[in-house]
Amino acid sequence: MITAGTLSGLAWKRFSRNRLAVFGLMTIALLALIALLAPVVSPSDPTAINVYKVLSPPSSTHLFGTDELGRDVLARMIWGSRISLKVGFVAVGIAISIGVLIGAAAGFYGGRVDSVLMRFVDVMLAFPTLFLILAVIAILEPSISTIMIIIGLTGWMNVARLVRAEFLTLKERDFIAAARAAGAADVRLIFRHILPNALAPVFVSATFGIAGAILTESGLSFLGLGVQPPDPSWGNILTAGKDNITVAWWLSVFPGIAILITVLSYNLVGEGLRDALDPRLWQDGKR
């Protein structure tokens, strides 16, 4: 028996024992802080061109060096982190909203509703996501909002499956029958009784999803289909780095490491959450 504290308190206790996950969480917090405070912490204007300092190596004035137009790489990366953060959260936000609604409807109502919705999920999964994104961007204007929306629209299927599976087991539980006997309508059963108990795997999936979305955005920007210059993004700094890789290693290395650390951090947090929220590992035994 646990004498005090809530279920989330219990999960936090388990999470905080995982050092790598805590490291990831702290890194993410730091990155988020930097992104929010970009106007304050950025050493210079990320779009200020200086033709006298083209491709100068890291120095005390330009910690991460400058790019092919003499712009400060550190400043561009700090402003670029805003893009990564925004893309990650907005795209995953869209994906979760769609996934939760479709998964909840499929799992709760079952039968024909379930069959139709899950076959739709199968169809969506059959699309090669990256090519779908490329096709849409070829038609629409490549912009940060287009990318976020498309990553969201193509990334909800996994969430829908997870939520459906949770709903299938939870709706048979006695406390749902009791709420139904108390007169609770479907909407109340779904959103107040089942969903709060079904969210643990969604949080885990969301964390991994953010990492994936950041990678996708970097990839698209690298290909020139994402954030358009002169606006900075980690992906399009890498593009410039590719052209000058023999003379300016700092253009590729620093944004590359930033992407690596960020994605790694989200994945570490995701794994930590997965372990912390797994009810089979709770000492309490019963929920």
Binding site: M1, L7, A181
Partner: protein, 326 residues
């Protein structure tokens, strides 16, 4: 005769069993033609082994699941067809208490939210007064106001069952269906919860459908007993008549299996019936034996038993489904 209160008529619930490609469809007859009635202010007990369909009957009475056939009349209204507002009105009249108090409370809702919810759904009291009403409810089931802000995992099994009973009482129901409310609890706690049920009945005269396999509890609590076997009722009688003189061989078997405590060694005790081998296990409800479903385990079977299904018939002030009684 007074107006009937709860009337269960020829109730059936069949589930389709999973069958392979090309196999013929098979059905699990969880409940197959159950009829009984419950009088206002009385306790009706349903007894039987695990898997005989008792809990399915409970869920059918609550309209938590829809029957394959038959009707449930509550105050002469067929509840199997209820929808919308009339269904919501019915939900205020009949409540349920489940077996497992660990599974029947939402783990993410505090006690005040769980117990306050029926008030909100049925708009019984203004939101500001919900708290005081919940405190009154908790007091009724022997819990203090410190329980309000706690989550289910902070309580013991007995305390949780008290909360479940309080939830059933929120809407001031006329009937509570208790589906083995004691079997998940420790023996010492069972007595407390049993007394709580007695006290509630004394105070408010709520009718009770009490599902159990503990015959001592049933004898103590109920006015009438229905004995279920493989989805059907085999004997229906007043509690005292049934316990003093069981008629159906299955009832005899059940009663003989109850451990007796007596200080008098010479007291006349009916011999205990032991079943061995194939006889010992209850048959699967997919493969219900032909004729009387009880005949493979029956000590008194004769040639008619594996051919004809005995109907539930009036016999000396009670109803029995057995070829021995005409």
């Amino acid at each position: 005769m007074d107006m009937s209160f709860l009337d269960v008529q020829n109730l059936k619930k069949h589930y389709q069993a999973r069958s392979g490609l090309g196999e013929t469809k098979r059905f699990v007859k969880a409940v197959d033609g159950v009829s009984f009635s419950v009088k206002r202010d009385k306790v009706f007990a349903l007894v039987g082994e695990s898997g005989c369909g008792k809990s399915t009957v409970a869920r059918l009475i609550l309209k938590l699941i829809d029957p394959t056939g038959g009707r449930v009349l509550f105050k002469e209204q067929d509840i199997t067809a209820l929808k919308g507002d009339s269904l919501r009105a019915f939900r205020r009249s009949v409540q349920i208490v489940f077996q497992d108090p660990f599974a029947s409370l939402n783990p993410r809702m505090r006690v005040i939210d769980t117990l306050g919810e029926p008030f909100i759904i049925h708009k019984l009291v203004p939101r500001k007064q919900i708290r005081e009403h919940v405190v009154v409810l908790l007091e009724k089931v022997g819990l203090g106001p410190e329980a309000l802000m706690k989550y289910p995992h902070e309580f013991s099994g007995g305390q949780r069952q008290r909360i479940c009973i309080a939830r059933a009482l929120t809407v001031s129901p006329e009937l509570i269906v208790a589906d083995e409310p004691l079997s998940a609890l420790d023996v010492s706690i069972q007595a407390q919860i049993l007394n709580l049920f007695q006290q509630i009945r004394r105070d408010s005269g709520i009718a009770l459908v009490f599902i159990s396999h503990d015959l001592n509890v049933v004898r103590y609590l109920s006015d009438e007993v229905g004995v279920m076997y493989l989805g059907g009722i085999v004997e229906l009688a007043g509690t005292e008549e049934l316990f003093s003189a069981p008629k159906h061989p299955y009832t005899e078997l059940l009663l003989s299996s109850v451990p007796k405590i007596t200080t008098d060694r010479t007291a006349d005790q009916s011999p205990r019936i032991f079943l061995t081998g194939v006889q010992a296990d209850i048959p699967s409800p997919i493969d219900v034996p032909p004729g009387c479903p009880f005949h493979p385990r029956c000590q008194k079977r004769f040639e008619l038993c594996d051919k004809d299904v005995p109907a539930l018939k009036e016999s000396g002030g009670r109803q029995v489904a057995c070829h021995l009684y005409k």
